[in-house]
Symmetry: C2
Protein backbone atom coordinates (compact mmCIF):
# COMPACT_ATOMS: atom_id res chain seq x y z
CA UNK A 1 0.00 0.00 0.00
CA UNK A 2 1.10 3.56 -0.63
CA UNK A 3 1.96 5.91 2.23
CA UNK A 4 -1.10 8.06 1.58
CA UNK A 5 -3.46 5.07 1.70
CA UNK A 6 -2.00 3.92 5.02
CA UNK A 7 -2.41 7.39 6.57
CA UNK A 8 -6.01 7.42 5.28
CA UNK A 9 -6.57 4.02 6.85
CA UNK A 10 -5.39 5.46 10.19
CA UNK A 11 -7.94 8.27 9.81
CA UNK A 12 -10.69 5.70 9.17
CA UNK A 13 -9.60 3.59 12.18
CA UNK A 14 -9.59 6.76 14.34
CA UNK A 15 -13.13 7.63 13.18
CA UNK A 16 -14.32 4.11 14.04
CA UNK A 17 -12.63 4.47 17.45
CA UNK A 18 -14.62 7.67 18.11
CA UNK A 19 -17.85 5.87 17.19
CA UNK A 20 -16.80 3.16 19.69
CA UNK A 21 -16.64 5.86 22.40
CA UNK A 22 -12.84 6.12 22.41
CA UNK A 23 -10.36 8.89 21.50
CA UNK A 24 -9.71 9.96 17.85
CA UNK A 25 -6.36 8.23 17.33
CA UNK A 26 -5.04 5.20 15.45
CA UNK A 27 -1.68 3.98 14.16
CA UNK A 28 -0.22 1.28 11.94
CA UNK A 29 3.26 -0.30 11.89
CA UNK A 30 4.49 -1.80 8.63
CA UNK A 31 7.58 -3.76 7.56
CA UNK A 32 8.59 -4.33 3.98
CA UNK A 33 5.27 -2.95 2.74
CA UNK A 34 3.22 -5.34 4.91
CA UNK A 35 1.05 -4.30 7.87
CA UNK A 36 2.52 -5.67 11.13
CA UNK A 37 0.08 -4.08 13.58
CA UNK A 38 -2.97 -1.81 13.64
CA UNK A 39 -3.99 -0.13 16.89
CA UNK A 40 -6.22 2.55 18.37
CA UNK A 41 -6.08 4.68 21.51
CA UNK A 42 -7.96 2.54 24.05
CA UNK A 43 -7.24 4.71 27.10
CA UNK A 44 -10.87 5.17 28.10
CA UNK A 45 -11.49 1.41 28.02
CA UNK A 46 -8.30 0.40 29.82
CA UNK A 47 -7.79 3.42 32.16
CA UNK A 48 -4.26 3.64 30.74
CA UNK A 49 -2.94 7.23 30.33
CA UNK A 50 -0.23 5.91 27.98
CA UNK A 51 -2.65 4.12 25.60
CA UNK A 52 -1.98 6.29 22.54
CA UNK A 53 -2.39 4.66 19.13
CA UNK A 54 1.35 4.80 18.38
CA UNK A 55 2.29 3.24 21.73
CA UNK A 56 -0.21 0.42 21.19
CA UNK A 57 0.92 -0.21 17.59
CA UNK A 58 4.58 -0.37 18.69
CA UNK A 59 3.77 -2.70 21.60
CA UNK A 60 1.82 -5.01 19.28
CA UNK A 61 4.54 -4.96 16.62
CA UNK A 62 7.25 -5.84 19.16
CA UNK A 63 5.20 -8.74 20.52
CA UNK A 64 4.36 -10.00 17.04
CA UNK A 65 7.90 -9.77 15.66
CA UNK A 66 9.43 -10.90 18.99
CA UNK A 67 11.94 -8.03 19.07
CA UNK A 68 12.20 -4.55 20.60
CA UNK A 69 14.23 -3.48 17.54
CA UNK A 70 11.75 -2.19 14.95
CA UNK A 71 14.37 -0.28 12.94
CA UNK A 72 13.22 -1.98 9.73
CA UNK A 73 9.62 -0.83 10.29
CA UNK A 74 7.63 2.32 9.46
CA UNK A 75 4.84 3.97 11.45
CA UNK A 76 1.63 5.60 10.16
CA UNK A 77 -0.71 7.68 12.32
CA UNK A 78 -3.64 10.02 11.81
CA UNK A 79 -1.92 12.68 13.98
CA UNK A 80 1.69 13.78 14.29
CA UNK A 81 3.00 11.93 17.38
CA UNK A 82 3.07 13.70 20.76
CA UNK A 83 6.44 13.78 22.61
CA UNK A 84 5.63 10.53 24.47
CA UNK A 85 4.96 8.71 21.20
CA UNK A 86 7.87 10.32 19.31
CA UNK A 87 10.23 9.24 22.11
CA UNK A 88 8.70 5.74 22.00
CA UNK A 89 9.37 5.73 18.24
CA UNK A 90 13.02 6.61 19.00
CA UNK A 91 13.27 3.71 21.48
CA UNK A 92 11.72 1.32 18.93
CA UNK A 93 14.28 2.33 16.28
CA UNK A 94 11.58 3.24 13.74
CA UNK A 95 12.98 5.97 11.46
CA UNK A 96 10.09 6.85 9.10
CA UNK A 97 6.76 8.26 10.33
CA UNK A 98 3.81 9.39 8.19
CA UNK A 99 0.94 11.45 9.66
CA UNK A 100 -2.30 13.13 8.54
CA UNK A 101 -2.60 16.09 10.92
CA UNK A 102 0.22 18.23 12.35
CA UNK A 103 0.65 19.10 16.03
CA UNK A 104 -0.18 22.72 15.13
CA UNK A 105 -3.37 21.70 13.33
CA UNK A 106 -4.34 19.38 16.17
CA UNK A 107 -4.07 22.29 18.63
CA UNK A 108 -7.46 23.49 17.37
CA UNK A 109 -8.95 20.43 19.08
CA UNK A 110 -6.36 19.62 21.80
CA UNK A 111 -3.55 22.00 22.82
CA UNK A 112 -1.74 19.51 25.08
CA UNK A 113 0.64 17.98 22.48
CA UNK A 114 1.81 21.44 21.33
CA UNK A 115 2.27 22.59 24.93
CA UNK A 116 4.25 19.42 25.69
CA UNK A 117 6.62 20.04 22.77
CA UNK A 118 7.12 23.59 24.05
CA UNK A 119 7.90 22.28 27.56
CA UNK A 120 10.55 19.95 26.12
CA UNK A 121 11.97 22.77 23.98
CA UNK A 122 12.37 25.12 26.94
CA UNK A 123 12.94 22.50 29.64
CA UNK A 124 10.23 24.16 31.74
CA UNK A 125 7.93 21.33 32.85
CA UNK A 126 4.87 21.57 35.07
CA UNK A 127 6.02 18.26 36.58
CA UNK A 128 8.31 18.84 39.58
CA UNK A 129 11.41 16.62 39.51
CA UNK A 130 13.11 15.91 42.85
CA UNK A 131 16.75 14.77 42.61
CA UNK A 132 17.65 12.25 45.35
CA UNK A 133 20.92 11.19 43.70
CA UNK A 134 22.90 12.65 46.62
CA UNK A 135 20.99 10.47 49.11
CA UNK A 136 20.69 7.09 47.35
CA UNK A 137 23.06 4.96 45.25
CA UNK A 138 21.09 5.26 42.01
CA UNK A 139 23.94 3.88 39.90
CA UNK A 140 23.99 0.52 41.76
CA UNK A 141 21.65 -1.31 39.32
CA UNK A 142 23.81 -0.20 36.37
CA UNK A 143 27.04 -1.39 37.99
CA UNK A 144 25.31 -4.69 38.78
CA UNK A 145 24.24 -5.00 35.14
CA UNK A 146 27.84 -4.50 34.00
CA UNK A 147 29.00 -7.30 36.33
CA UNK A 148 26.23 -9.79 35.43
CA UNK B 1 7.11 5.93 53.70
CA UNK B 2 9.48 8.82 53.20
CA UNK B 3 10.50 9.94 49.71
CA UNK B 4 14.06 8.72 50.19
CA UNK B 5 12.93 5.24 51.25
CA UNK B 6 10.70 4.92 48.19
CA UNK B 7 13.53 5.94 45.83
CA UNK B 8 15.77 3.39 47.59
CA UNK B 9 13.06 0.76 47.11
CA UNK B 10 13.08 1.54 43.35
CA UNK B 11 16.86 1.00 43.32
CA UNK B 12 16.40 -2.38 45.05
CA UNK B 13 13.64 -3.39 42.60
CA UNK B 14 15.88 -2.35 39.69
CA UNK B 15 18.75 -4.47 41.07
CA UNK B 16 16.43 -7.47 41.40
CA UNK B 17 15.29 -6.85 37.82
CA UNK B 18 18.90 -7.02 36.61
CA UNK B 19 19.38 -10.31 38.47
CA UNK B 20 16.22 -11.52 36.66
CA UNK B 21 17.92 -10.75 33.33
CA UNK B 22 16.01 -7.54 32.67
CA UNK B 23 17.00 -3.85 32.41
CA UNK B 24 18.05 -1.79 35.48
CA UNK B 25 14.84 0.20 35.96
CA UNK B 26 11.90 0.25 38.37
CA UNK B 27 9.20 2.71 39.44
CA UNK B 28 6.52 3.12 42.09
CA UNK B 29 3.29 5.15 42.04
CA UNK B 30 1.85 6.29 45.38
CA UNK B 31 -1.31 8.09 46.49
CA UNK B 32 -1.82 9.60 49.92
CA UNK B 33 1.34 7.95 51.19
CA UNK B 34 0.25 4.46 50.08
CA UNK B 35 1.86 2.41 47.31
CA UNK B 36 -0.56 2.01 44.36
CA UNK B 37 1.75 0.17 41.95
CA UNK B 38 5.31 -1.18 41.72
CA UNK B 39 6.76 -2.03 38.32
CA UNK B 40 9.97 -2.87 36.50
CA UNK B 41 11.16 -2.54 32.91
CA UNK B 42 10.11 -5.84 31.37
CA UNK B 43 11.02 -4.99 27.77
CA UNK B 44 13.28 -7.98 27.23
CA UNK B 45 10.59 -10.40 28.43
CA UNK B 46 7.70 -8.80 26.52
CA UNK B 47 9.53 -7.49 23.40
CA UNK B 48 7.93 -4.11 24.15
CA UNK B 49 10.18 -1.10 23.36
CA UNK B 50 7.93 1.08 25.57
CA UNK B 51 8.16 -1.14 28.67
CA UNK B 52 10.03 1.33 30.88
CA UNK B 53 9.43 1.11 34.63
CA UNK B 54 7.55 4.43 34.78
CA UNK B 55 5.26 3.47 31.87
CA UNK B 56 4.44 0.14 33.52
CA UNK B 57 3.84 1.73 36.95
CA UNK B 58 1.49 4.33 35.41
CA UNK B 59 -0.37 1.67 33.41
CA UNK B 60 -0.83 -0.46 36.53
CA UNK B 61 -1.92 2.52 38.65
CA UNK B 62 -4.53 3.58 36.06
CA UNK B 63 -5.94 0.04 35.88
CA UNK B 64 -5.99 -0.34 39.67
CA UNK B 65 -7.58 3.06 40.38
CA UNK B 66 -9.85 2.81 37.29
CA UNK B 67 -8.93 6.29 36.06
CA UNK B 68 -6.47 7.86 33.62
CA UNK B 69 -6.30 10.90 35.95
CA UNK B 70 -3.48 10.26 38.40
CA UNK B 71 -3.09 13.93 39.41
CA UNK B 72 -3.36 13.00 43.10
CA UNK B 73 -0.47 10.50 42.78
CA UNK B 74 3.33 10.72 43.00
CA UNK B 75 5.95 8.76 41.07
CA UNK B 76 9.26 7.33 42.30
CA UNK B 77 11.95 5.90 40.04
CA UNK B 78 15.58 4.86 40.31
CA UNK B 79 16.47 7.02 37.26
CA UNK B 80 15.28 10.44 36.12
CA UNK B 81 12.58 9.70 33.50
CA UNK B 82 13.48 9.73 29.80
CA UNK B 83 11.37 12.01 27.51
CA UNK B 84 8.90 9.17 26.77
CA UNK B 85 8.29 8.60 30.46
CA UNK B 86 8.24 12.31 31.39
CA UNK B 87 5.62 12.92 28.67
CA UNK B 88 3.65 9.90 29.97
CA UNK B 89 3.81 11.47 33.45
CA UNK B 90 2.38 14.68 31.95
CA UNK B 91 -0.48 12.73 30.36
CA UNK B 92 -1.19 10.95 33.67
CA UNK B 93 -1.41 14.26 35.53
CA UNK B 94 1.23 13.23 38.10
CA UNK B 95 2.99 16.39 39.30
CA UNK B 96 5.68 15.13 41.73
CA UNK B 97 8.52 12.81 40.64
CA UNK B 98 11.41 11.58 42.83
CA UNK B 99 14.48 9.91 41.28
CA UNK B 100 17.83 8.43 42.36
CA UNK B 101 20.06 9.04 39.33
CA UNK B 102 20.01 12.04 36.98
CA UNK B 103 19.94 11.83 33.18
CA UNK B 104 23.47 13.26 33.16
CA UNK B 105 24.71 10.63 35.62
CA UNK B 106 22.92 7.87 33.69
CA UNK B 107 24.79 8.91 30.52
CA UNK B 108 27.87 7.10 31.90
CA UNK B 109 25.93 3.85 31.32
CA UNK B 110 23.42 4.82 28.58
CA UNK B 111 23.64 8.06 26.55
CA UNK B 112 20.26 7.64 24.81
CA UNK B 113 18.06 9.50 27.35
CA UNK B 114 20.38 12.53 27.33
CA UNK B 115 20.53 12.50 23.52
CA UNK B 116 16.73 12.28 23.37
CA UNK B 117 16.33 15.33 25.63
CA UNK B 118 18.75 17.21 23.37
CA UNK B 119 16.72 16.20 20.27
CA UNK B 120 13.55 17.55 21.89
CA UNK B 121 15.36 20.76 22.94
CA UNK B 122 16.62 21.47 19.41
CA UNK B 123 13.77 19.85 17.48
CA UNK B 124 16.34 17.93 15.45
CA UNK B 125 15.17 14.30 15.51
CA UNK B 126 16.77 11.32 13.78
CA UNK B 127 13.20 10.14 13.08
CA UNK B 128 11.94 11.49 9.73
CA UNK B 129 8.39 12.88 9.96
CA UNK B 130 6.38 12.98 6.71
CA UNK B 131 3.44 15.42 6.72
CA UNK B 132 0.48 14.11 4.68
CA UNK B 133 -2.00 16.68 6.04
CA UNK B 134 -2.35 18.24 2.58
CA UNK B 135 -3.42 14.90 1.11
CA UNK B 136 -5.75 13.40 3.75
CA UNK B 137 -8.49 14.82 5.98
CA UNK B 138 -6.67 14.26 9.25
CA UNK B 139 -9.08 16.44 11.22
CA UNK B 140 -12.12 14.28 10.37
CA UNK B 141 -11.94 12.08 13.54
CA UNK B 142 -11.80 15.22 15.73
CA UNK B 143 -14.83 16.79 14.03
CA UNK B 144 -16.67 13.50 14.44
CA UNK B 145 -15.79 13.45 18.16
CA UNK B 146 -17.22 16.96 18.58
CA UNK B 147 -20.49 15.85 16.97
CA UNK B 148 -20.85 12.58 18.91
Amino acid sequence: MKHEELVKRCVKLAERNVRDGQAPFAAIVTRGGEVVSEAVNDGKATFDPTAHGEIRAIQMAGTKLETTDLSDCELYTNCEPCPMCLAAIHWSGIKQVYYGLSIGQQAEFDEMPQELYEAFRTGEHSVKLHDYSGKVDGAAPFRLEERE
